[in-house]
């Protein structure tokens, strides 16, 4: 199997509550995969296990053929995974350029010129050129989301995990964001947790639907769109698959 990332029987229970239950999941290199599901379906818990913020109760995770189940988060990031937080988590009291430079520096080391070049290029790309000197905490919410994304890009990851990146963004910002992700997908595999179905349908090559911590369905946007089971999970009609 040539999957970039795969999980087998990945499970997480919190005090007996099954948040994620025996999920088998394969992500192919180069695709944009959307992970959708109702609130509380276990999406964030699932990706938190992928990046190492949450330890699984059981099951395994492989990245590029290597078992990373027990690796700490920083080691997974070093292997080429990047994660952007659902709740914006920037360095609020540092300026925007330093936020991005911190992400670039781990890869580029002490080469100041290279870090500065990479930082400027990434800020340009996400549309924050000219904001480099502002404190990240002083930016608008939408711009902080872009800083978050810029930090992801500056790491030049092979897998970029975006946890609800468009949450709270205005329509115009979402359109720009969609173009950006299309662009990023040329270099990295993207795993996207998203509620905005417009974004999901426009971007995703494949969609995985989680419900009650289990994979309910997986397929192309068209297949998922037509699936009765998915409709039921979202609309709560209780119809059989």
């Amino acid at each position: 199997m040539s999957a970039l990332l795969s999980t087998r029987a990945l499970s997480k229970s919190f005090a007996g509550l099954r948040a994620v239950h025996e999920v088998d999941f394969d992500l192919e290199p180069g695709e944009i995969r959307a992970l959708i599901g109702p609130n509380g379906a276990g999406k964030t818990t699932f990706v938190s296990m992928l990046i190492g913020r949450v330890a699984p109760t059981s099951g395994t995770i492989h990245f590029e053929g290597r078992d990373i189940t027990r690796l700490p988060a920083h080691a997974r990031v070093r292997l080429g995974m990047a994660y952007t937080f659902q709740i914006t988590s920037v360095f609020a009291r540092l300026d925007v350029a330093e936020n991005v430079a911190l992400a670039a520096r781990r890869r580029l080391g002490g080469d100041r010129a290279a870090v500065a070049r990479e930082t400027a290029a990434v800020l340009e790309r996400v549309g924050l050129a000219g904001h480099g000197d502002a404190l990240a905490g002083d930016l608008s919410y939408g711009h902080q989301r872009l800083v978050e994304l810029a930090m992801g890009l500056a790491q030049a990851p092979r897998l970029l995990i975006l946890d609800e990146p468009t949450q709270g963004l205005a329509e115009g910002e979402i359109a720009a964001f969609r173009r950006l992700i299309r662009d990023v997908a040329a270099e990295a595999t993207v795993l996207l947790i998203e509620h905005n179905m417009g974004v999901v349908m426009a971007l995703a090559d494949r969609i995985t639907v989680l419900d009650f911590g289990e994979v309910l369905a997986e397929g192309s946007p068209a297949e998922i769109h037509g699936s009765a089971a998915v409709q039921a999970a979202y609309l709560g009609t209780g119809a059989d698959a």
């Binding site: 070093r78 360095f91 540092l94």
Partner: protein, 312 residues
């Protein structure tokens, strides 16, 4: 390096050198003491101001440097140069062990654990009276206090060596905090979870910060013992852990020159107020409260916030 940063820090050192020639004897001696203690504060600031870890036990590192220097010099007749290095090594070694254990905790627990280790260290000094001479401490003979042929009982030499050590510590701190390593420490202070998910090993960075901080503190302790000829258990007491916290808070946590001004300010605050009234600690206390109210980021921190955002 940025020219204005170089000018500011170099300027401070040049000013201190110029003061050597003009200060009256009393203030000349004070300033030598302040510069050595500023090295201690710089070490403390590296951990507290830059990494965001509040230790209440740094006296153990200062004292480890002092005893690590004093005991081999006193008992084994080791030369002052090697004894000084032994002091730094002792403090670094202790910091490594304490760091490995204490860094399993964060926040208040980290404060308590460092405080407890420091108290244990203080009691160990008293208990090992056979070698440390307990409460009395070790008085170093003038003949032993000779560093590279320079006689440390001479106030002029003392001042210049204190300035040399301070210049070394200041430059090292400036270099460290501007390197990628220092930037990661700040990132850990600001948002450890985010820093971890940028691929930085938080524990190893914190441990390195504890060890470096301990070595700065130990160098200051060793130098203090050599310069003033006394190695005593009072330097391991809890108030000697609180001092660097106050100095750094007053001077400006997370600034390179702040610790120096914190020590200087507090030294003269107590010096002047004790000349005015026996209740000098009250004067000092009120001044501290006022400063905390009106310049919560400390003297240099406030200057940075208002005027000089480029201050490292």
């Amino acid at each position: 390096m940025n020219a204005r940063i170089l000018a500011l820090h170099g300027g401070l050192l040049a000013l201190l050198l110029a003061l050597h020639f003009v200060l009256p004897v009393y203030h000349h001696g004070n300033l030598a003491r302040v510069m050595v203690l500023a090295c201690y504060a710089i070490g403390y600031n590296l951990l507290f101001g830059y990494t965001g870890l509040l230790s209440l036990g740094h006296a153990m590192f200062f004292a480890a440097g002092m005893y690590g220097m004093g005991m081999p010099l006193y008992h084994l007749g080791l030369g002052a140069e090697l004894a000084f290095l032994a002091g730094i090594a002792a403090a670094g070694g202790l910091a490594l062990v304490v760091g490995l254990l204490a860094l399993r905790t964060v926040g208040v627990a980290f404060m308590i654990v460092t405080l407890m280790f420091s108290q244990a260290f203080y009691l160990a000094i008293l208990l090992a009276a056979r070698w440390t001479r307990g409460d009395e401490g070790l008085v170093l003979a003038g003949a032993d206090r000779v560093l590279f042929g320079l006689d440390l009982t001479d106030p002029d030499i003392r001042y210049l060596l204190a300035l040399g050590l301070f210049a070394l510590c200041l430059s090292a701190a400036l270099w460290l905090v501007r390197r990628p390593f220092g930037r990661v420490l700040v990132a850990i202070r600001e948002n450890p979870e985010r820093a971890e998910l940028l691929g930085y090993d938080i524990f190893r960075h914190k441990l390195a910060a504890v060890v470096l901080s301990g070595m700065f503190s130990g160098a200051a302790g060793a130098a203090y013992g050599l310069m003033f000829g006394y190695v005593g258990a009072s330097f391991a007491e809890v108030h000697f852990s609180i001092f660097p916290l106050l100095w750094v808070l007053l001077g400006g946590a997370g600034t390179v020159i702040g610790p120096f001004f914190g020590v200087l300010f507090m030294f003269y605050l107590i010096d002047i107020s004790s000349g005015l009234t026996p209740a000098y600690m009250l004067v000092a206390g009120v001044a501290l409260v006022l400063l905390t109210l009106f310049a919560p980021q400390g003297l240099v921190g406030e200057v940075r916030r208002r005027w000089l955002r480029w201050l490292p």
